[in-house]
């Protein structure tokens, strides 16, 4: 080994593979650890992943087969759907690349070492570009697998179809990565990196919310009723609305559909690859000019001052009745939440989720003139419980699941102080669950009001959703303790981890169990109504079912909390 400064260093320049070496070694090490540590986890992941793929494949296959029954426009529609899908995925990719590029190019821990080493800027750019692309595209790529498999199966794509898809999708993934990295590079040169992160998080979440709202308000359900359009031209014109022939999403969709329809037109592929190549060259040129100054600026500019002294005084007064330790703990959690843009900005997504949910309920074709049967309304209101429960579980995954992980590197302080961990756990439980309970009761009451539910169903829904929310809060918190992510730098990434998936599955299972328990007395009531028998809806059967639901939720609340408390007490940091 040679460390002397008197002799020049010779040898091969550092390659892209060498720069990325620690990354892929870490992935293998983690996989090895997962494999040896928890076979059950892997099995669970395979079951969940396999189930999701199979479900998506079946839906996509069914839709494409259904479209195939109208020969004139079937293939056209399939191509349009693919193009719309790629457009949606492309927007998500662009936004996620913006945020990821900031981390990989400017905030990652390995950058000090790489920038201070004699690494060629071009190779550093390509290495970081690859890393950004993999980080921000893997989920979209996985989502596309079952959908494109369905395309291949319905249109008989053949064994070479995956290669054709790869040929179209690689440049499609590369384009938003280069553009995202370039925009981030420019922003970092204008704003300090931490401000840029806040700005990007806001832009990204706002834009995702906007895209979801836009797609929802386009009323895609109308496309399933072509008879609603005056003629075919109107219909196709409506379909063309969000795309453009000069969009890469259109080229990628055309390249895939050309293969499936056996059209020998290499233009879309040529356009994709030449554009991708050109933007990489332009991106590298921009990188060489702006990266050194941008990287230097990225090391500056942490937040200094804080606002919101008035609400802090109000919160302190409101929580004045609590013991000191609990009060200070809750105040600390609130301060940290509202000062961290990556955390509070998720409220935007929450608002979008709730708006879309209420809009979906309003869009149900229930009250379109004719008298709606009591049976149908009761059934829809009953099933609405499931939907509301799912929305609440998603909110709990975003806000309650990460709360213990976020203590992260500060756990030494909590563990070495005389803080009662039980008190800490319950504080976190109520800080997360109390607002969730309010949201739960409000959305259930509002959607039931839209559906014009009977007082009986309104009561049943409110009681059920309250019980479920308490349990979902406990499950989210507890599974967050059992599957912690103490080293994460971004709170938004925690809910999509393995533990987050396990929580969502557990919550859905609990929801299914509740619905099954309540289904019997509700269906008995409806059958009696159908038969023209006047019955009291609050039958002994229903009360018994409610007792069972209450018991089920109490178990799902207390058991996980107890287990997580034990884990927290035994936790070594």
């Amino acid at each position: 080994m040679q460390f002397s400064a008197t002799e020049p260093r010779d040898g091969k320049p550092t390659g892209v593979g060498q720069i990325l070496y620690p990354k892929w070694r870490s992935v293998f090490a983690r996989l090895r650890k997962e494999r040896t540590g928890a076979g059950g986890r892997l099995l669970l992941l395979l079951v969940v992943g396999g189930g999701f793929w199979l479900g998506t494949f079946r839906i996509a296959y069914w839709v494409l087969k259904y479209l195939g029954t109208t020969p004139e426009i079937g293939a056209l529609l399939a191509g349009k759907i693919l193009s719309m899908l790629l457009l949606a995925f492309g927007s998500i990719l662009l936004l996620s690349n913006l945020v990821t590029a900031l981390s990989t190019f400017f905030l990652a821990k390995d950058l000090d070492m790489l920038v201070s080493a004699p690494v060629d800027w071009g190779r550093l750019y390509l290495a970081k570009l690859s890393e950004t692309m993999v980080h921000s595209s893997w989920m979209v790529a996985l989502m596309l697998v079952p959908i494109l498999t369905a395309y291949g199966a319905v249109y008989h794509g053949g064994w070479l179809f995956p290669i054709a898809v790869l040929g179209a999708l690689l440049p499609f993934f590369l384009l938003p990565t280069v553009i995202g990295a370039a925009i981030t590079l420019i922003l970092v040169n204008v704003f300090p990196a931490r401000r840029t992160r806040d700005l990007l998080t806001l832009i990204a979440l706002g834009a995702v919310g906007g895209v979801v709202l836009l797609l929802r308000f386009l009323r895609p359900e109308q496309l399933s009723r072509p008879e609603g359009f005056r003629n075919l031209v109107d219909f196709v014109a409506e379909l063309k609305a969000p795309s453009h022939p000069l969009m890469p999403t259109e080229w990628a969709a055309s390249a895939i559909m050309n293969w499936l329809e056996r059209v020998a037109d290499p233009l879309p592929l040529l356009l994709l690859w030449s554009t991708a190549g050109a933007v990489v060259v332009l991106g590298a040129a921009l990188h060489s000019r702006l990266y050194p100054s941008g990287f230097s600026k990225a090391q500056e500019g942490a937040d200094k001052y804080v606002a919101g002294h008035r609400w802090q005084r109000i919160a302190t007064r409101l929580l004045g009745w609590l013991p000191v330790t609990r009060r200070e703990f809750i105040l600390k959690d609130l301060r940290v939440f509202f000062r961290d843009t990556t955390q509070w900005s998720q409220l935007i997504l929450l608002a979008v989720l709730l708006i879309v949910y209420v809009f979906n309920i309003r869009a149900l074709p229930l009250y379109t003139g004719e008298r709606v049967p009591y049976l149908l309304v009761t059934l829809v209101v009953f099933l609405n419980q499931g939907l509301a429960g799912f929305v609440l579980a998603a909110i709990a995954a975003r806000f309650i699941f990460p709360s213990v992980s976020l203590e992260g590197r500060q756990l030494w302080l909590l563990k070495s102080s005389p803080l009662d961990l039980r008190a800490m756990l319950w504080s976190k439980y109520w800080v997360g669950t109390a607002p969730l309970l309010i949201v739960a009761l409000v959305i259930t009451a509002v959607t039931n009001e839209i559906l014009r539910a009977s007082p009986f169903m309104m009561f049943l829904s409110l009681v059920t959703i309250a019980c479920f929310t308490m349990a979902a809060g406990a499950l989210a918190l507890s599974l967050g303790v059992l599957f912690p992510h103490f080293d994460t730098e971004n709170a938004a990434q925690i809910p999509t981890s393995f533990g987050g998936v396990v929580f969502m599955m557990s919550a859905i299972l609990l929801l299914a169990a509740i619905i099954i328990v309540e289904a019997r007395p509700v269906s008995a009531h409806l059958q009696a109504y159908q038969a023209g028998v006047e019955t009291e809806p609050f039958s002994p059967d229903l009360w018994w079912a409610l007792v069972k639901v209450f018991g089920l939720c109490a178990i799902a609340t207390l058991l996980p909390l107890q287990k997580s408390l034990r884990r927290l007490q035994a936790l070594e940091v």
Binding site: M1, Q2, F3, S4, T6, E7, R194, A302, D303, K304, Y305, V306, P323, V324, T325, R327, E328, F329, L331, K332, R335, V336, R339, D340, G408, R409, Q410, L411, W412, L413, L414, K415, S416, S417, P418, L419, D420, A570, E572, V573
Partner: protein, 252 residues
Amino acid sequence: MIALHQLTKRYGKFTAVDSVSLEIPRGMLYGLLGPNGAGKTTTMRMIAGILRPTSGAITVAGNDIIRQPMEAKQRLGFIPDRPFVYDKLTGAEFLRFVAGLYGQSGPEIDRRVDELLELFELTPWKHELTESYSHGMRQKLIISSALVHRPEVIVVDEPMIGLDPKSARLLKDIFRRFVARGGTVLMSTHTLEIAEVMCDQIGIVLAGKVAAAGTMAEIRVQTSSGTASLEDVFLKLTGGHNERELSAILGD
């Protein structure tokens, strides 16, 4: 004040701390020395109640850390080697939060917080988020947080890292005065000069075991080191480098 009895910590087959027994009485500043990976930090984290011992017992001010953790921790202030604090709290908010963890609040704590910030020259930054603090400022904030609840025992892992000479001197004075008033300090350090000057007694840990312990004079006798300095005793116990290794590394 701190008593370790046959303290052992194993990670699988690896024994990080091996049957360590120590008595540190009231009014003593005790230095724990040892090479990297000797088990000093593990020992300190067990005393602080962060790690659970595999076997053995720890008492702090007469309270068993496993059986009476609340009572033991109430009397203890812990300063870790790495200054991780909540980035989104200001310095003053962080200190008030830590006081709250020990069940203390109100005007008395507000005054105490101001005093500590003044002492460590952090007052100009008291309303700024800690994410804008330098490493040394964070270290000073953590030291303040260990003092905010007026502990009887301080366990401190590598206290001088990141401190400027003035703050290092201040910390030495604080520890000496704390001990003079009947407090107890257990400190790990790699700075042998500081240990030699500051500590009443020293323990040298090697591979999880106490290789030598006592006053400097007692350690010299135990290691047959005559009038050697602590550095020479330490290197004699841990094994130093040789000239050939250095030449190879420096490329002579």
